[in-house]
């Protein structure tokens, strides 16, 4: 395994997570997935299950609100057993869009702390910005991959431990780190030192380890900026295996 700063950080983070109390690690995250496409629901469900999450998948924003107990203006105490740890929703949906769902969740005093992740097949800057400004935790460009799920799981777990005052700071840190570490995301087991501009057959061990952060030739040069400026935005995975 390479020994550059990036890998060390991740390993530390893993070890750190193992130090959580038994209650934390034993409990699976419960994710509410919202998407009107059956194909996408099946895929996101599988991605989440294989990442050890409990999943409830619904096909609309309205149903999501019903599940949370938000839409009927009833006391939502009855739904405490179905505690949702994360909401992941498609942006483009008939009826209530993912953005509207996001707003409703963030307007609710009970549920506004639940991180909401938006998915979209369109990499539209204005859309991304709008969602982040409204309080979305992250914005994933479809198709969703295992590395995306692993990433959002990571910071969901971390937030519970660190507390919500630090949330904004974490948001910026997330983006910075994602720039550094997302280069290998197209192949989950890959090592961070694999160069993003080399071909897909690059062997990680052949790279000379660089001090943190790893070289990022093609990613944006302002990793802490929340507004992506081009197609290599933090919210778009930088693909290391370009087939074109």
């Amino acid at each position: 395994m390479a020994r550059d700063g990036g890998v060390t950080w991740r390993r530390t983070e893993k070890i750190d997570r193992f130090n959580l109390s038994a209650a934390d690690t034993a409990e699976e995250l419960h994710v509410l997935a919202v998407d009107d496409s059956l194909v996408d629901r099946k895929v996101i469900e599988r991605l989440l299950r294989i990442s050890s999450c409990k999943v409830t998948a619904v096909d609309s924003g309205i149903r999501a609100l019903q599940f949370l107990g938000l839409d009927e203006e009833k006391n939502s105490n009855g739904f405490n057993d179905l505690k949702v740890d994360l909401i992941i929703t498609d942006y483009c949906m008939p009826g209530m869009t993912g953005y509207e769902l996001l707003k409703k969740v963030k307007e609710s005093s009970v549920f506004r702390e639940i991180p909401v992740v938006i998915m979209s097949s369109e990499n539209v800057l204005a859309r991304i910005d709008r969602c982040l400004e409204e309080g979305a935790e992250d914005f994933i460009v479809k198709p969703v991959k295992l590395s995306d799920v692993k990433r959002i799981k990571d910071y969901t777990t971390r937030e519970f431990r660190v507390g919500e005052e630090e949330r904004t700071r974490k948001g910026i840190n997330k983006r910075k780190q994602r720039d550094s570490f997302d280069l290998s995301s197209s192949s989950p087991p890959s090592i961070l030192s694999s160069s993003p501009v080399s071909s897909s057959s690059s062997s990680p061990e052949s790279q000379s380890p660089s001090p943190s952060p790893p070289s990022i030739p093609s990613a944006s040069s302002a990793p802490s900026s929340p507004s992506p400026i081009d197609s290599h935005s933090p919210t778009r995975r930088v693909k290391t295996t370009s087939s074109e």
């Binding site: 496409s37 059956l38 895929v43 097949s121």
Partner: protein, 156 residues
């Protein structure tokens, strides 16, 4: 010899997949789906793909009936169908189909009916081709599973 049959089937699978990737018909998202299969969910890919086929055929029918209508003008509605088709195609890794949808959508945004018709025909063709190839792939995989079961009956 059953061993040779299993080898041949595996080679067939690899050859077909290599062809599909090389031609740009499938992309890495399809590989991602394959990685999600395991003993608890051994038919995940074919399940998702069959849902995709079912939905796609509905969408294609809708698109065709929209365009065949002499008084057709609802490009907006067509755009909605196209977005759905694009989304699900990209989710299973059907790259070429998705690219045709992009071109189709461009024609639709220009209210170019002739262009839309051409795109639809191309879409139907690409879809048929993909469906045949994936059915072939699933058949080979079924044969492999059978061959393995016969070869190692005690494992079941």
């Amino acid at each position: 010899m059953l061993g040779l049959a299993a080898d041949r089937l595996r080679a067939d699978t690899n050859r077909l997949l290599a062809f599909l990737f090389h031609q740009g018909i499938l992309d890495e998202q399809f590989l991602q789906l394959q990685q999600l299969e395991d003993e608890t969910s051994p038919n995940f890919v074919s399940e998702v793909v069959n849902i995709y086929f079912h939905e796609s055929e509905k969408l294609l029918r809708n698109l065709r009936s929209l365009l065949m209508d002499k008084e057709f003008s609802d490009y907006n509605k067509m755009g909605i169908h196209l977005n759905q088709f694009m989304g699900s195609s990209s989710s299973i890794g059907a790259k070429r189909i998705r690219n045709v949808c992009v071109a189709f959508r461009a024609a639709s945004e220009q209210n170019n009916r002739a262009g839309c018709l051409r795109a639809l025909e191309l879409l139907e063709h690409e879809y048929c081709f993909l469906k045949n190839k994936l059915h072939e792939l699933f058949q080979i995989q079924q044969q492999r599973a059978l061959a393995a079961a016969v070869r190692y009956p005690m494992q079941n």
